[in-house]
Subunit: 281 residues, 3 copies
């Protein structure tokens, strides 16, 4: 599959890792062009069994992805809609799609991510941010609305309730260390180490079976949307549903041949063993 | 609207911020008087479209709000009740009301908050605590009961499951730094900085549209009580339901006139921009 | 009740605290023997009203509990199963039972806990880990499956979504400090302090009424599986259902006699008061 013809980013595929680099106008505005591009990208990735990891980064030294185009917001109908009639908004829809991709998705945040830009980051599986360069903000309350690209829904799933409310009600900038402490990002990293950190993580994940990556994602996302009894059933379901029988059995066989089990030396080195077992591919 | 005639606290309204200062007897006991006062306060705030932020603080240098009156607990019926018959307890009811206020609520914790006092803090949107002065504890398990002013229900929504269980099963004091690390409070602050921190935060929020504050709160609280698909719908619902059309469109128009979008200098200063846009009020 | 005859651990009962020490082969393999032992243990503990706290530790200086027996995984049917037909797996079942025990359960982690071993730790109420000795990993994605001993379901209940996904998708070792920062454990402790820390915590909890311990656990676990309205009802239900009337009323009476309420000196010392009130037992 080819990843070409986008207006707001370019895509580079290497060793099952697709790197998306936003580069659109002066500020990487999140408008019709970007939403259209993200929809096209998602449509391809949903059908792609080769790509295992997607990294979202920016060519702009100051901005990762900008907020949602305010011109589109000016035209928004504000007619009240009943609960049963309400439909998802365009930004919600495309970010929901991103969040459900079968690939592992990583937001590599080396500039501002505010409003819809930050909501996009929240729709990725993991977020890493560069100290001194990264800032995030949800400014919607100040503009007379609420974060409605999934931000109001996804924030407390990362941070707990009190910090989610402070972030969304205060409409202020948060830096990388505060973001780490509050839990909106996985880790704050030094600007000169984020590249290697994300690359190593992506390369590690990219060697694992694609079906397992997808099964893990499904089970984890489902787990917090249901009572534990149902979550456990989903976990078992995804085991039976998605396991690549050949891949798993090959791996357990190799593990056995290497005396992985019952051997304390091997138990000390699972971090390496995990990668050795991939050599069967 | 006037906020007068309370026995357990006094209320001061200034610039859309209502500051409630508990001052009742030697320990700010959480008894019939306080619960009655809180119900009256909630009834007014539910109808008040001017107040945007409520700060709860204490005049007592050592105690924020004391635990629930043990004399009321002695009389508690312990007859088993079936699931379908069970009704909310008085403290649960009033704190549920506090938690659903349309205003942003801040607990400014400069003394002890234990038992029902801490459960009250958990029912506020945000919590900030002074190092060296703040302690919290849920002592119910030691008394033969469980935290039943919402504490058992709200703890893991802030901290994750393991830490919630430790807090509730250990019945010990936690200081401000440990509270921050466990996530029961937003931040631990120095005793001489908590005043300014909370004041600045309150003044910032108090300039934003009241309807947006309410919409943000609703969407965030709902988000963790439902699967993501339903949460996203709630988010969209609150956008249509609550947006003050005039307020939002005015703000986006100003933002456009100021070239906020497409301009990197403006993008650098969203922290200030957010406040400039409020000057249209 | 006696706790004897296990193949994979020994059990020592002292002052209402049951200490389980794993000691099975070279690596504490989590195979048929251990699962069988854990089922027997759970069956007894479910009926035991004397034991109030269970500590799980290991006699192996390097391994707490090893991963699930890979030989059992090799035989796993990978036939797809429909959602309605899916049944819980053996490891899921026994860990679900552990997680619902009426006793407070503590994982004292002084060695590796990977795969099913870590999923076992996640099924305990609380987790404390020794710096330098503890490592955890979920390596399933690398083996072609997903964590299906409750790991995919329980991880985000401790850490938030982004960090749960990183843990499960990266299949790498995490040390004690990173585990604390990510929230999979309650606290990282020095190797020479973990013993006392866990002992003190266990002894504290073991003096509280058994029924209250159970009620607290039920209410907290239920709280995150339901909307807040239902969680609050569950909280009230457990108050009526489980309170030992005699225990609670005795305690509140003692508290009153000691002038606990209305007295600032007593309010300063709740940490001790909580224990004094237990002397009535």
């Amino acid at each position: 599959m080819t990843y070409e013809g986008y207006k707001t980013f370019n895509a580079k595929l290497e060793d099952s890792i697709l790197t998306i680099t936003f580069n659109f106008g002066s500020v990487n505005l999140q408008g019709l062009e970007m939403i259209s591009d993200l929809n096209s990208l998602a449509m391809r990735l949903e059908r792609d069994h080769e790509v295992k990891v997607v990294i979202f980064q920016s060519a702009n030294p100051e901005i990762w992805v900008c907020h949602y185009d305010t011109n589109l917001l000016k035209d928004l109908s504000t007619k009240a809609v009943s609960r049963s009639e309400v439909e998802l908004l365009d930004l919600q829809k495309v970010l929901d799609r991103i969040s459900k991709l079968p690939q592992a998705t990583i937001a590599k945040l080396e500039g501002f991510a505010r409003g819809g830009g930050h909501e996009f980051a929240l729709a990725c599986d993991m977020r890493f941010a560069a100290r001194g360069k990264y800032k995030f903000m949800q400014m919607e309350v100040a503009m007379g609305i609420l974060p409605c690209g999934g931000g109001a829904s996804r924030m407390a799933r990362q941070t707990g309730l009190g910090r989610a409310l402070e972030i969304i009600l205060s409409a202020r900038d948060f830096g990388a260390d505060e973001a780490e402490a509050y839990g909106t990002i996985n880790k704050a990293l030094e600007p000169d180490e984020i590249d290697d950190y994300v690359k190593n993580l992506a390369q590690r994940i990219a060697r694992f079976p694609a079906e397992s990556i997808n099964a893990c994602k499904r089970a984890v996302y489902e787990s917090i949307d249901q009572p534990i009894e149902e979550a456990l059933k989903a976990e078992a379901y995804w085991l039976y549903q998605s396991t690549s029988k050949t891949a798993a059995i090959k791996r357990f066989t190799i593990a056995d041949e290497q005396g992985l089990q019952h051997d304390i030396d091997n138990q000390r080195n699972w971090d390496d063993l995990v990668m050795k077992v991939q050599d069967i591919n």
